[in-house]
Amino acid sequence: MITLIKVEWRKLSHTSLLVASVMAPLLGSLAVLIIPLRHRRAIWFDYIATNLWLTHALLIPLVMGLVTAYVFGREYTAGTAASLRLSRFTVWQVILAKCATVLGIGVLMTGIAVTTTFVSAMAAGFGGFYWEIVLRYVSVSLLSCAIAVCSVPFVAVVAIWERGSFAASVLAVTAPLSGVLFMAGFASRLNPWGLPMLFVSRFLNLVSRDLLQAMKPVWPTAVVSVMIGLMVTAVMQSRTDIQSER
């Protein structure tokens, strides 16, 4: 199993997707620096909220979905699915190794996002530190990661069904975005039915309020950052394709 995971990482090592996985959280962390100063209130909350919206709620599920589509769909487009089937591992071991690789990418991106958030927040001199804010940061991160993780099996099934990565990539882009929007919309309409539901609604309201509040001042930056990220990925991928064609 460890061998298979190593092999999967090795296959990813020379792709633009791995570069995008590393760059995306950095992009989110750096994007905050170009936010107009009038929107940048000198408290840590805004910085974190901005960063987590960009990286966790959008880019991490997006890149994880694309990586899922790639690692599953690529075996069919490259004609290597047969060699995996005829290996010393079972089909389930192969699938689990691929899922573990995708989760590894998610952990890598989250680690980079968290580290760069803290480092750049300190370097930029943002003041204010509240445990409540940290808890919100963690809860939003968990929610976004959960959406990303939930989308992985769906994207994988589409890639296997389609025997390629195109439709799965489309799903990978749309699923996390729809998930985040759905959760935000759901939370705003939820009423507290009983104690358990109260906890859920409080949690979701908290999360969605933070997300929407964070989105408000930074949406142009968010859109531009995502566009740049996608363009860089597309250009690098097309270069790989051209090299492959040669």
């Binding site: 061998t3 298979l4 190593k6 092999v7 090795r10 296959k11 020379h14 792709t15 690529r74 487009t77 490259a78 004609g79 290597t80 047969a82 060699s83 995996l84 089937r85 005829l86 290996s87 010393r88 591992f89 079972t90 790989t240 090299q243 492959s244 064609e245 040669r246």
Partner: protein
């Protein structure tokens, strides 16, 4: 299929094997037995069902009727202990274009029998990939890619090697390399090799059996002696196809 008895004397055996797709039989009622260490050419025109049959024999596709076995064990639904004995080189692809030749061979070795530097070096040497080992697979020529795909299938020393159109896009040197490979793996390692191709190559360096498949049906097989030239092979195949179709479908030389 319960009740069907497969012989252990064959490396590969198919009994009543068939595959239906979109209400059309791609391959139907194929019965064949391929001996151990044999070189077997599965020939037929485009669309005859060669690739489908090869995939059924490898356990990559589920048969609609009949069974296929490797060393007496059914391949469809078999575990890694059976499937890892089969090497398969598809007609297209079979390698990772973003990895180098060496990395491709390492990945193939890791998933098949475990990392084995000696096996990798041997596969690269047999298929004359030595000078290309540092190059990305995506940047190779089509013939070189074909040789790489065969090397990836070969790297784990499989007991059964299935090659789909291995001669496509190969120049004279490439053909020579693959012919040499077949002699080596059959004679030295005792590998059973099945090749799906429109026609056998010009010079047979080893006695082989040729099975003809025509419109999804198995027409029959003949033993080809070592050293037969292309004209003699074509004449024999023409005769085989004519016999199987009652003399009305004499077009085996179009491939």
């Amino acid at each position: 299929m319960r009740g069907v008895v497969h012989s252990m004397e064959y490396a590969i055996e198919a009994i009543g094997l068939g595959k239906v797709s979109a209400q059309r039989w791609l391959v139907s009622d194929v019965n064949l037995g391929i001996s151990r260490s044999a070189l077997y050419y599965l020939v037929g025109q485009n669309g005859a069902g060669k690739t489908t049959l090869l995939r059924l024999l490898a356990g990559l596709s589920r048969a609609s009727s009949g069974t296929a076995t490797v060393f007496g064990r059914q391949v469809w639904g078999a575990g890694p202990e059976v499937l890892s004995q089969i090497g398969f080189a598809p007609a297209d692809g079979g390698y990772y274009p973003n990895l180098t030749v060496d990395q491709n061979l390492e990945v193939a070795a890791a998933v098949r029998r475990g990392f084995d530097r000696q096996a990798i070096d041997e596969a690269a040497a047999i298929l004359d990939l030595g000078p290309l080992r540092g190059r990305r697979a995506g940047t190779l020529s089509k013939g070189q890619k074909k040789r790489l795909a065969i090397a990836c299938a070969l790297v784990g020393h499989p007991a059964v090697l299935l090659l789909d159109e291995p001669y496509a896009n190969l120049d004279a040197d490439g053909l020579d390399v693959v012919q040499e490979l077949l002699s080596v793996v059959c004679a030295r390692h005792g590998t059973t090799v099945v090749i799906a191709s429109a026609l056998p190559p010009n010079d047979l360096r080893r006695a082989a059996v040729v099975g003809v498949i025509d419109q999804g049906r198995f027409s029959g097989e003949r033993v080809l002696a070592e050293g037969l030239n292309q004209a003699e092979v074509r004449a024999m195949l023409r005769e085989l196809t004519a016999v199987s179709s009652g003399g009305s479908d004499d077009n085996s030389d179009q491939g």
